[in-house]
């Protein structure tokens, strides 16, 4: 079995990673965090017992090898056989019963680089530390010194001490593992001198990082700087890839290049791959709030929301200024100014905009209180004094109503006035040219209307705009229409002709047309069929059983 294990385990660095699995599978308790951490530190050094020869290999005594346990525990099935257990000799060593000297030379370095301990020479024994204390729970027993004559090119041959350590770990797990409490033997590593061991009792709960309390991810200045360097370098590489000049590679070029190199069918633009300057990606964050002596920079630091409260303080100060000004005017018997700022075309900052301005999270109450204070400031008779301050917090609303431009009449070669219009209905698209001085002739796609629309209903639709404006026989119409069915094509032509007729008609009549619904695009389209239903609305027949 030992030979099989040997052949399986190759001399690679991953053997250390197998330590926790071996231990974890064999011990009944879950492997605590610190064991895995230990196994990951590649530079575990253990002052091996005195008789460890160099090179640092794990050597076994014949007796210990004879007593070793099978690799897999009775609980495991066939899976255990394939487990590359790196410590077969280790397990054998553990099984030797009998009085064992206490753990002396164990160094378990948690998250710390272990000291460079020289290998003790032969015959040198470290004195037992006087401060060693044993408690009922700390049944730490040293695994027997692994003495052997042959070199054992096992999986841990580069870290022979790891075997000793792992044995001790297993003991620790057995000792206190059930309750989830891990015993950590921390060594005050102070070099080759006498080492003391200290037992610290702790639980995994103490090491868990309180993710919620740490707040949003904080980016250090060094990190952002590095990101900017990487971005600039990447920009040049991208320019080279696209065969363009790196010096004149703008952000639009970058976007185009990324869209070309990484085509994405995703609908949301924000989900597509993008390459932007780090200042646009990483949100701006507040730097450290206090100086070297620990004194915070801002006088409202201890409130927790210094920017917001400072803003409230400043706004209230403006309010007091205005009141003082009012009082002065009243004292001089002058009437207060009544010119009020017109608020119609402006709006206050939204909560998100204010948060971006202050670089601080706000609650809805905070935001509404601030806006109320601003309103109060504006409503005061002499509020105009602080107009500049108020302007910082208001935004103009762009004109939303768009006046529809009615095109003027055009004239063709004969001098006949005509006008064009476009219309749509469902999937039909129509373009129409309405000519003046006509007789009411309508041509659709080169075909006469009577032939194209045999149904009366469709022809009535075409007629409606002219009928509405009392211009039934006065115009000629030439239409082109495509898409949809007969009814939707008729509706498209109707809309197009109504739009074209606007040029012939007064504004009042245009308004009448609009109110009649002649100029509105019919938004109705075919509703999609849903799964689990027969149609858009029709459900499958309900059967009682």
């Amino acid at each position: 079995m030992c030979r099989r294990v040997l052949s399986k385990c190759s001399l690679n660095t991953s053997r250390l990673g197998a330590v926790p699995t071996a231990l974890g599978s064999l011990s009944r308790c879950p492997t605590p965090l610190w064991v895995q951490t230990l196994s990951l530190t590649p530079s575990l050094t253990l002052p091996c017992p005195s008789s460890m020869p160099s090179p640092r290999v794990l050597s076994l005594s014949p007796e210990s090898r004879a007593q070793r346990l099978p690799l897999r525990s009775p609980r495991e099935g066939a899976a255990g056989r394939h487990d590359a257990s790196p410590q077969p000799a280790l397990l054998g060593a553990e099984q030797t019963q009998g009085p064992q000297p206490p753990l002396q030379h164990l160094h378990l370095h948690l998250h710390l680089p272990p000291p460079a301990l020289p290998m003790p020479g032969a015959g040198q024994r470290h004195p037992r530390p006087p401060s060693w204390r044993r408690s009922a729970q700390a049944r730490l027993r040293l695994c027997p010194p692994i003495v052997g004559t042959e070199a054992f090119p096992g999986p841990c041959c580069a870290e022979p001490g790891a075997a000793v350590m792992a044995a001790a770990l297993r003991r620790l797990l057995r000792a206190g593992g059930r309750r989830g409490a891990a015993l950590v033997a921390a060594a005050a590593a102070c070099g080759p001198g006498p080492q003391t061991l200290r037992l610290i009792y702790t639980t995994t709960a103490a090491w868990k990082k309180n993710v919620a309390a740490s707040g949003p991810e904080k980016y250090t200045e060094a990190f952002i700087k590095k990101q900017i360097e990487e971005f600039n370098l990447g920009k040049r590489h991208l320019a080279n890839m696209m065969g363009e000049d790196p010096e004149t590679f703008t952000q639009e070029d970058i976007d185009r290049a990324i869209a070309y190199l990484f085509p994405s069918g995703l609908f949301d633009k924000r989900a597509r791959p993008m390459m932007k300057h780090p200042t646009e990606i990483f949100p701006e964050q507040r730097k450290i709030q206090w100086g070297e002596d620990g004194r915070p920079f801002h006088f409202l630091f201890y409130t927790g929301k210094q920017s917001y409260y400072s803003l409230m303080h400043d706004t209230y100060e403006k309010l007091l200024n205005v009141q003082k000004h009012q009082d002065q005017l009243a004292a001089q018997d002058l009437p207060p100014q009544k010119e009020k700022k017109n608020l119609v075309g402006s709006r206050w900052l939204t909560k998100t905009e204010l948060e971006e301005m202050l670089l601080e999270k706000l609650s809805d109450d905070d935001y509404s209180r601030f806006i109320q204070l601003l309103q109060k400031l504006v409503m005061m008779p002499c509020g105009n004094i602080e107009e500049n301050y108020i302007k910082k917090f208001s935004r103009e609303i762009s004109a939303q109503l768009q006046k529809v431009v009615i095109e003027p009449l055009k004239y063709d070669e004969q001098g006949v006035a005509f006008s064009t219009g476009e219309g749509r209905r469902k999937t039909s698209r129509a373009t129409v040219a309405v000519y003046d001085n006509g007789t009411g002739k309508i041509t659709v796609n080169g075909i006469d209307v009577l032939h194209y629309f045999p149904v009366l209903q469709d022809r009535e639709q075409l007629l409606f705009p002219f009928q509405f404006l009392d211009r039934v026989g006065k115009h000629d119409m030439v239409c082109t229409v495509s898409g949809g069915g007969r009814s939707s094509q008729a509706g498209a032509i109707r809309l197009a002709s109504a739009k074209a007729l606007r040029s012939f008609v007064t504004e009042k009549e245009v308004e009448f047309m609009r109110q009649a619904g002649l100029l509105t695009v019919d938004p109705r389209v075919k509703e999609r069929k849903k799964p689990g239903q027969e149609g858009a609305r029709r459900k499958f027949t309900w059967k009682k059983r």
């Binding site: 070297e292 620990g294 004194r295 915070p296 006088f299 409202l300 201890y302 409130t303 927790g304 409260y309």
Partner: protein
């Protein structure tokens, strides 16, 4: 040691790099009971005209404030201004010492009427203010709320020791928990128990509050100026080290030129 704080850098403490001269710098003011002469900043007449002696009605009286009450007239409690003078002197002296040693001073008042005044006072003397809603863990959970390595205030001054619902301010208890000394103006309806240097006095009149703000501002500025002066003197001293010898105890500077 709190395991949560393992690996967290200790808060920066101003280290005096002045050596032997520095010891004199810090120990010298401790020799006198009123080194900064705060007594001259106020008088009984000032307190009276600022209406500091006016307390609340008899029904609002707090049991522990009875020693500080001079009497009761027409159901209104009158605070004993003799005691107020003594307490005010102690409190101002302590504030001056803290400011001299470059401590962080936090002004707390939950009275909406004087919120702006207190914040302005704090800003003008270079210290800190908190006149807003007190979040629960500001002092006790500071390392998580503000970040690791934050330095807590070394003195908290309560210009009104009650909060908006007329209960003792949470900061009094939290400061006692965190071993932060407190100075507080206690009215007849307040509990003076956990406050290190209570000042029995009115905390509702604008005149009284303006007087307190003015007094605290003056003491803090005075102490800081003196500190700067001494530090400047000490730095200039090595030039004359040979003849100057060990640090002489200077006569406390005259404050008479400062206007009240």
């Amino acid at each position: 040691m709190n395991p949560a704080l393992l690996g967290v850098p200790a808060p920066a403490v101003p280290s005096t790099k002045l050596g032997a001269a520095g010891d004199g710098l810090l120990s010298e003011p401790l020799g006198h009971p009123d080194f900064f002469n705060v007594k001259e900043l106020f008088s009984m007449k000032d307190l009276f005209s600022a209406r500091v002696h006016l307390g609340h009605k008899k029904g609002c009286r707090h049991r522990f404030m009875e020693p500080y009450i001079f009497g009761c007239r027409l159901d209104q409690d009158i605070i004993d201004l003799d005691q107020t003078m003594d307490h005010l002197q102690l409190a101002l002296n302590f504030t001056a010492h803290i400011a001299y040693r470059k401590g962080i001073i936090l002004f707390v008042s939950r009275n909406r009427q004087f919120c702006h005044l207190v914040e302005s006072t704090a800003r003008e003397c270079g210290e800190y203010a908190h006149t807003r809603y007190w979040q629960g863990g500001l002092l006790t959970n500071a390392h998580i709320q503000f970040g690791a390595g934050v330095r807590l205030p070394d003195l908290i001054i309560f210009l009104s020791s009650l909060n908006n619902v007329f209960e003792p301010h949470v900061a009094i208890r939290d400061a006692a928990k965190m071993n932060i000394p407190t100075v507080g103006v206690v009215d007849t309806n307040c509990n003076p128990c956990l406050i290190t240097y209570p000042i029995p006095g009115n905390d509702d009149s604008p005149t009284a509050m303006e007087l307190y703000c003015k007094l605290f501002k003056m003491t803090i500025i005075r102490a800081k100026d003196y500190r700067k002066q001494r530090e400047g003197a000490v730095q200039g001293r090595p030039v004359h080290h040979g003849d100057a010898g060990p640090l002489e105890v200077e006569h406390p500077p005259q404050w008479a030129d400062e206007k009240k």
